[in-house]
């Protein structure tokens, strides 16, 4: 673990492992979860990401005090599979890039769908848009690069892949992920508490539904 300076009010905590480490009790997700549970008063904002957690000091707390607290935090282990607790997302697998993903991975279309529905995904971190979760899987079968050209318009509910992550577009937006399907699940609803379905640490299963 390394603490990197991030201006005069924040520290970037760098962990050797990303979300993969969380199940063994490590990684950025395990560290962010430990901060959430311990909630030290020195901590203002926590921004989890792939291999790092950005921590902003609470108002009036000296940065040195924050650094001391952060050095003592130990990442917690998250259960590998939360079973029935996992959020289920029904997906129609008819995405425009399904053939490209099959070609890139050396799998058939059916095998791509199977690989997507067989693993338990976990929300590693948020970003890009309210309600968007970067979902880390259990194996690398579906690791594909982003599309060479971004689309200017990706419909809400599009299910995509990019790099080591899966994701679902919460609303229509531009985007460069490889689209394999679509869902009607509402990922972000301000009238719901909590508004986001996908929060860091939440386990996710995709379930195939026929049109």
């Amino acid at each position: 673990m390394r603490l990197l300076a991030y201006g005069d009010r924040a520290v970037l905590v760098e962990l050797a492992e990303g979300v993969e480490g969380a199940e063994r009790g490590g990684g950025a997700l395990g560290y962010a979860e430990a901060l959430r549970r311990e909630a030290p008063p020195e901590v203002g904002e926590v921004v989890p990401a792939a291999c790092t957690v950005l921590v902003v000091a609470a108002d009036k707390v000296p940065l040195a005090d924050l650094r001391r607290v952060l050095e003592d935090v130990r990442p917690v282990a998250l259960e590998a599979d939360r079973g029935p607790e996992a959020v289920e997302i029904p997906v129609v697998y008819d995405g425009q890039d399904l053939d490209d993903v099959a070609a890139l991975t050396g799998l058939s279309r059916e095998e791509v769908v199977a690989a997507h529905t067989e693993q338990t995904w976990r929300v590693a971190f948020g970003g890009f848009a309210p309600g968007f979760g970067y979902l880390a899987g259990e194996d690398d079968r579906l690791h594909v690069p982003r599309r060479e050209e971004s689309r200017t318009r990706v419909p809400a509910g599009s299910v995509g892949l990019a790099g080591e992550y899966a994701g679902v577009y919460p609303r229509e937006s531009p985007g460069g992920w490889q689209l394999i399907g679509r869902t009607e699940v509402d990922l972000f609803d301000l009238d719901r508490d909590p508004p986001a379905l996908l929060r860091p640490g939440v386990a996710v299963r995709f379930v195939e539904v026929r049109r």
Binding site: L4, G7, A10, L12, V47, A49, L54, F128, R171, P195
Partner: protein, 288 residues
């Protein structure tokens, strides 16, 4: 009797802002809030409001509002601008009592970019995730335009008797100097000191998300892509083009481009007052 402000014109961009929505980065919702947080706080303090009461952030003036059927105390802070009440010139940076039905106009600032119209009692727009701030990147928070009638809250405390507030430290003639701490990924560019060696210009593609800077191009030192990292206002991020972006209030929550410097908190407010075309420089400081 109702306490309201009716918007007749909003200029290039006027938004409702408070001090933002903390605690939602994990679900992709950034902090947002006033770009010049100090200016909003200052206006609120002068009116006896809680520091985080919502006001109007006015970009390059052009605001025309009408007070409802109850008199209100107002205070304009941030970029120094012409303030008129029913056509009569008033000073900004001081509380003014405005009668029911009066027309208040906030002109374009001579120096600086963003002025704040604070009102005693605060702008009482609907809360979204605990804040009234309009986040332009996330698309959250109240949307306002000419014709919008904004409710104004009831005063919470006594008027503190402040009659004049300091002006922002922005000069029209000299480059704005921002203090910055070397960023966590400074070694991902060939020459991080290009930041302090260059006189930069804020481009007209600057907005509440960030100020895009022109003047030199950083050369990336690594071929790999950086895994996404949390971002914060004040971060100077270098996208593949090599042209840096200085993140302001509505910056993305996470991003995959290296952060070569982070402007100290006190100077981010100053950065929010840099107009497109204006020059700025950076000076390295140590992290505390």
């Amino acid at each position: 009797m109702t306490r309201t402000l009716t918007l007749h014109a909003t200029g290039p961009l006027t938004t409702v802002q408070d001090l933002g929505r903390p605690g939602y980065a994990g679900i992709g919702v950034g902090r947002s809030g006033a770009a010049d947080r100090g200016a909003l706080r200052q206006g609120n303090r002068a009116l006896g409001n809680p520091e985080g009461a919502a006001g109007l952030e006015i970009t390059l003036g052009g605001l025309d509002v009408e007070v409802g059927d109850e008199a209100l105390w107002l205070c304009v802070t941030g970029a120094v601008c012409d303030l008129t009440v029913d056509g009569r010139g008033m000073g900004s940076h001081a509380p003014v009592r405005v009668e029911a039905g009066a027309r208040v106009r906030v002109g374009s600032p001579s120096v600086g970019l963003r002025s704040y119209l604070c009102v005693r009692g605060g702008v009482d727009a609907d809360l979204v995730l605990g804040s009234r701030s309009r986040d332009l990147l996330a698309g959250l928070g109240p949307e306002i335009d000419a014709g919008t009638v904004l409710p104004v809250g009831e005063p919470a405390g006594a008027m503190p008797g402040i009659d004049h507030l300091p002006w922002p430290r922005v000069s029209a003639d000299e480059p704005v100097v921002l203090r910055a701490v070397r960023g966590p990924r400074a070694d991902w560019v060939a020459d991080p000191d290009l930041l302090t060696a260059t006189t930069w210009t804020a481009t007209d593609r600057s907005n509440r998300v960030g100020a895009r800077l022109d003047g030199a191009r950083f050369e990336h030192a690594r071929d790999r892509q950086l895994p996404s990292e949390g971002a914060w206002r004040g971060a100077v991020q270098v996208p593949p083009s090599g042209q840096p972006v200085l993140f302001l209030a509505d910056h993305p929550v996470t991003g995959g481009y290296p952060v070569v410097a982070v402007v100290v908190v006190d100077d981010v407010d100053l950065a929010a007052q840099v107009r497109p075309g204006q020059s700025l420089r950076f000076r390295w400081v140590e992290a505390p």
